[in-house]
């Protein structure tokens, strides 16, 4: 536990250094306006990162979550448009449920067929995306058709302020949802038996089995929760950008996985914390969004993210090697 805490401290230190450097290059970084919009960009990718963290803690890797997010979002919004329903709570529940059901499929395949999660989720991701695009449709539900209440929910703020220029800006109300989910997941992972079983299984499946943890239940918990989080992230995204695009989230896998790895989670399972992941997400989003502020062309974005992923994994590999000695 102390090891994990010190690891989180290192990540926090990196974050602060990065913030200071970016702020020195361009003081506009510190404007509340910029910080609020950064926090807003954290929400969807952050919720997805919680899902990926959970799978990674169990020793797997998930690349199907973007497809599940699309399914949760697009099926829900299209149904709402078709039957003329408007609202907030039911759609959120529906998208979460769709994600959870799809996650159950992952869990069953990983558990029953004992196949590497990466390959399973490559397959299920392609299946779900193919079905959504092939059977449901490829057209974007744009702002004219989007359910009003969902949009209103997505644009609501918990705090509004006025610029010197007179324009108003706010802190999105989605942020407490994200942080609340993070807190709940943190408590579940550290305080409950099922949470501890995820760490145990990730660190050593065989040992966890022999100690008597119900492995099947652990894997179902991991993948169903991950799927549910992905579905919820999907519908929140559509509420926040006021459209439902079935081709959304293409290529997000890397950003999210990079953020989780940046946050100190080990791909071999058993190591990683919610706090680290939240910090990792913030670092990734901040650096990506600040490239323009720092005067770096956006064409370099992918090189930077890929480089960060390699550097972060190399560092954690070094750390893990030391820890083992």
């Amino acid at each position: 536990m102390r090891l994990a805490a010190s690891s989180d401290m290192v990540i926090a230190a990196i974050l602060i250094v990065a913030m200071v450097v970016i702020g020195l290059i361009n003081p506009a970084f510190w404007s509340l306006d910029n910080l609020f919009s950064l926090l807003k960009s954290n929400v969807v990718i952050g919720i997805m990162a919680l899902a990926v963290l959970l799978v990674m803690l169990s020793g797997g890797i998930d690349v199907s979550f973007t497809a599940f997010a699309v399914a949760g979002m697009y099926l829900t919004v299209r149904t709402m448009v078709d039957i003329g329903y408007d609202g907030v709570v039911l759609p959120l529940l529906a998208a979460t449920g769709i994600g959870a059901a799809l996650g159950l499929v992952n869990a069953l395949i990983v558990h029953k067929l004992r196949m590497i999660p990466l390959i399973v989720t490559l397959g299920t991701g392609a299946v779900v995306r193919g079905l959504v695009l092939g059977l449901v449709g490829t057209s974007i539900v744009n702002i004219n058709k989007m359910p009003r209440e969902l949009i209103a929910f997505g644009r609501s703020d918990i705090l509004t302020m006025t610029n010197a220029g007179g324009t108003t800006f706010g802190l999105t109300a989605m942020l407490p949802i994200y942080l609340g989910l993070a807190l709940v997941l943190h408590l579940v992972l550290t305080r409950t038996l099922i949470g501890r079983s995820v760490y145990a299984y990730g660190a050593s499946p065989e040992a966890a089995k022999r100690v008597g943890f119900p492995i099947g239940r652990t894997l179902v918990f991991v993948y169903v929760t991950a799927g549910a989080l992905a579905g919820l992230a999907g519908i929140l995204q559509s509420a926040m950008i006021w459209q439902a695009n079935p081709r959304d989230f293409l290529g997000w896998e890397l950003d999210v996985i990079a953020a989780v790895v940046l946050g100190g989670a080990s791909i071999f399972g058993g190591r990683g914390t919610v706090l680290g992941t939240v910090l990792g997400v913030f670092i990734l989003v901040m650096i990506k969004n600040s490239l323009i502020l720092m005067g770096i062309e956006t064409t370099w974005q992918r090189v930077v993210v890929g480089g960060m992923l390699i550097a972060a994994t190399a560092l954690t590999a070094l750390r893990d090697r030391k820890a083992l000695v």
Binding site: I61, I109, K112, L113, R114, M115, I116, L118, I119, V120, L122, G123, T124, G125, A126, V127, V128, R129, G130, L131, L133, G134, L135, T138, E253, L254, I257, A258, V261, I267, F268, T299, W300, Q301, R302, V303, V304, V305, G306, G307, M308, L309, I310, T313, A314, A317, L318, R321
Partner: protein
């Protein structure tokens, strides 16, 4: 250590793997023929020479990527950057033609050399990160794939590079005695890779490392060097796929062939490659490629949407996983 029982053990084990190999490939061959017959019955146009020729032009690039994926899987790794490397290699050659001009066969040879060098260097980079920095192959190649794609974006500024010389396009579009050139190249690569894996110490070492990494180290195999070489070879193969892709389409772009990644993994796994390492055959991959290409070409003729074909690929992958699991359980029990 019970020394008296060990001498007897290797012999049956060997015939066991041999039989397993035979079983897998026989099964694949049967699936292949089955798909062929069903598609021929469903589509009257399926059996036309034109259809087979067009498959012969576009299947090889995918097949080469699948063989590259299999090489990475032999040591228990995976290479998620193959498509990025292929695109980067094509772009490197395209930039060379823009700078050096397109005239003369020498220019084309130079372009091929540059593409192959770019791919091998990219593969070496993967190998270094995986073998020396000990980063897991999944994350290393996920990250390096982004770096390579990012470099491709930076180099091209976004749009596709066009204007390859005619001799370059011939690599992807010409026919040699009626056989598409890409198919000839693919056949050569299959034979060469098979020979490399089955007839050289390098191939044997790779298989042993994948079967039991610890034992391989204790047996004195230079694990990290072998892994380095295997990823360099993977990058080299990906570059060849990149050459074929850019030659066939007369263009090179940072985001071509995005769907090839899943398909390459699928073909490798379907071809009997064990993603955990130690098992894989070129013949299996080739048979898997043929079955899937027949399948998707047949579905395309029936005007099934491309998205549904993606779905079919994914479903096929899961089905194969299920079948393998079932077979393994049977042989265990």
């Amino acid at each position: 250590m019970t020394t008296e029982t060990t001498p007897a053990k290797p012999a049956p084990q060997k015939t066991e793997t041999k039989r397993n190999w035979f079983d897998t490939n026989l099964q694949l061959a049967v699936v292949c023929v089955l798909i062929f017959v069903v598609m021929a019955l469903l589509n009257p146009r399926f059996l036309t020479p034109y259809n087979f020729q067009s498959m012969g032009f576009f299947a090889p690039e995918l097949g080469i990527l699948a063989i590259a994926m299999m090489i990475a899987m032999l040591t228990g790794g995976i290479d998620l950057s193959v498509v990025a490397i292929a695109n980067l290699a094509g772009i490197a050659a395209g930039l060379w033609f823009q700078k050096a001009g397109t005239g003369g066969i020498g220019m084309v040879v130079g372009g091929v050399a540059i593409a192959l060098i770019a791919g091998t260097l990219a593969g070496l980079f993967n190998g270094l990160v995986i073998a020396k920095l000990r980063v897991t192959p999944i994350l290393a190649t996920l990250g390096s794939g982004q770096v390579f794609t990012g470099l491709a974006v930076v180099l091209t500024g976004g749009p596709a590079i066009v204007g390859f010389p005619q001799a370059w396009n011939a690599i992807g579009n010409a026919k040699l005695a009626g056989v598409p050139v890409p198919l000839v190249i693919f056949a050569v690569i299959c034979v060469a890779t098979w020979a490399l894996l089955a007839r050289t110490p390098f191939g044997l070492n790779l298989m042993l490392i994948g079967t039991n990494p610890k034992a391989a180290v204790f047996a004195g195999l230079r694990r990290s060097r072998m892994i380095l070489y295997s990823y360099a070879f993977t990058g080299f193969l990906a570059a060849i796929a990149g050459i074929l892709l850019s030659a066939r389409t007369n263009a090179a772009k940072s985001d071509y062939g995005a769907s090839y990644l899943l398909q390459a993994v699928l073909i490798a796994v379907l071809g009997g490659t064990n993603p955990a390492g130690g098992k894989g055959s070129v013949l299996g991959v080739a048979l898997a490629l043929i079955s899937l290409v027949l399948l998707s070409s047949g579905f395309q003729m029936m005007r099934v949407s491309l998205h549904m074909i993606d779905f079919i690929w994914g479903a096929f992958l899961i089905l194969v996983i299920a079948l393998n699991a079932w077979r393994n359980r049977k042989s265990e029990g």
